[in-house]
Subunit: 191 residues, 2 copies
């Protein structure tokens, strides 16, 4: 199995375990995006994890070993790319909650980033998995921003995803066909 | 000064020194992109450096220290974003050569990436600085691909940049106004 972000198996703390599934959301999205690339439907990929490098050992020019580094708070989202000539941008998160998605999971910089993407004409959304319910939702970033501006709540209830979002079907290929909902956005924008 | 990629000052090996200028190409582009964001002209940023993490010390949940990691060969370019609703993608490189730009500076995966961006309707280009000449060129990715497919040479001569590329003016703000040439591409595409 190919671990995302270049993290090898001894750092298993990154992997969220949950019922009935062999793979986490990031793994599912990597496979989905690879499928989209292979059939040339879209060109979407995951960005590298932002890391602050503090100390590097340069034994030789080709073999530099990073000896001390830290995970950085992301200033952008994890995924972007192109679909039908449009700039696509999204963040993907899992929650173990049965009832709501905590907004603390999305950093302020990422919310600002989604606003910027929308303002400049890109298509921005979230993919949120309620892993214990085995449900994965597509939510337009405009609906996220709308919720934040009209609510003081620190979490988005599941009911908001059920009302405003779209349940992504789990299929064999593509595993999570989220572009189905991007097509709907493009159709609405085109009308 | 803000070091790009989260690299702090003790890792000065990353900084290429050259004549008559206080800042390298990456620094100039970071300032340029920040300026474009501040005036809300474009939303373009640098991706994190891809790093393969081998060993992480998890003392606490909030303080994970990466103890061993390596720089990875990039599979995409360094910069992307949105301008006038279009997907923008480019790679930036410096050379100390007075006469040519060695193609070994651009990885095969990056060339494939630029092809994918073009095929899906994005705008792709290179920004190449001949640092000893103090000249920075904008070259459309289509002209890079055209050169590669018609030549067996391992480097692109300066004359090709002079003929097919555009010399980017060094200004106060924006420091490297490369969007001027993206506008030209958009105008041609629109005709």
């Amino acid at each position: 199995m190919n671990y995302p972000n270049g993290i090898t198996k001894n750092t298993t703390h990154h992997h969220i375990s949950y019922k009935n599934r062999g793979m986490d959301l990031e793994g599912d999205l990597n496979i989905t995006n690879e499928y989209y690339r292979n059939i040339d439907r879209a060109y979407i990929y995951k960005k590298p994890t932002p890391i602050k490098i503090v100390n590097v050992d340069y034994q030789s020019r080709s073999l530099a070993t990073i000896k001390e580094a830290y995970f950085q708070e992301p200033s952008t989202t994890d995924y972007n790319g192109i679909y039908k000539g449009k700039y696509i941008d999204f963040e993907a998160k899992e929650t173990k909650s049965h009832t709501s998605f905590h907004l603390g999971n999305i950093h302020k910089h990422q919310i600002k980033h989604l606003e910027n993407v929308i303002r400049h004409g890109g298509i921005a959304f979230l993919i949120i998995r309620f892993s214990t319910l085995d449900q994965t939702y597509f939510l337009k970033a405009t609906d996220l921003l709308d919720f934040i501006s009209h609510n003081n709540r620190k979490s988005i209830p599941l009911s908001y995803f059920q009302k405003k979002g779209y349940l992504i079907k789990h299929k064999l290929n593509p595993r999570l066909d989220y572009l189905e909902f991007v097509d709907q956005i493009l159709e609405v924008n085109h009308e």
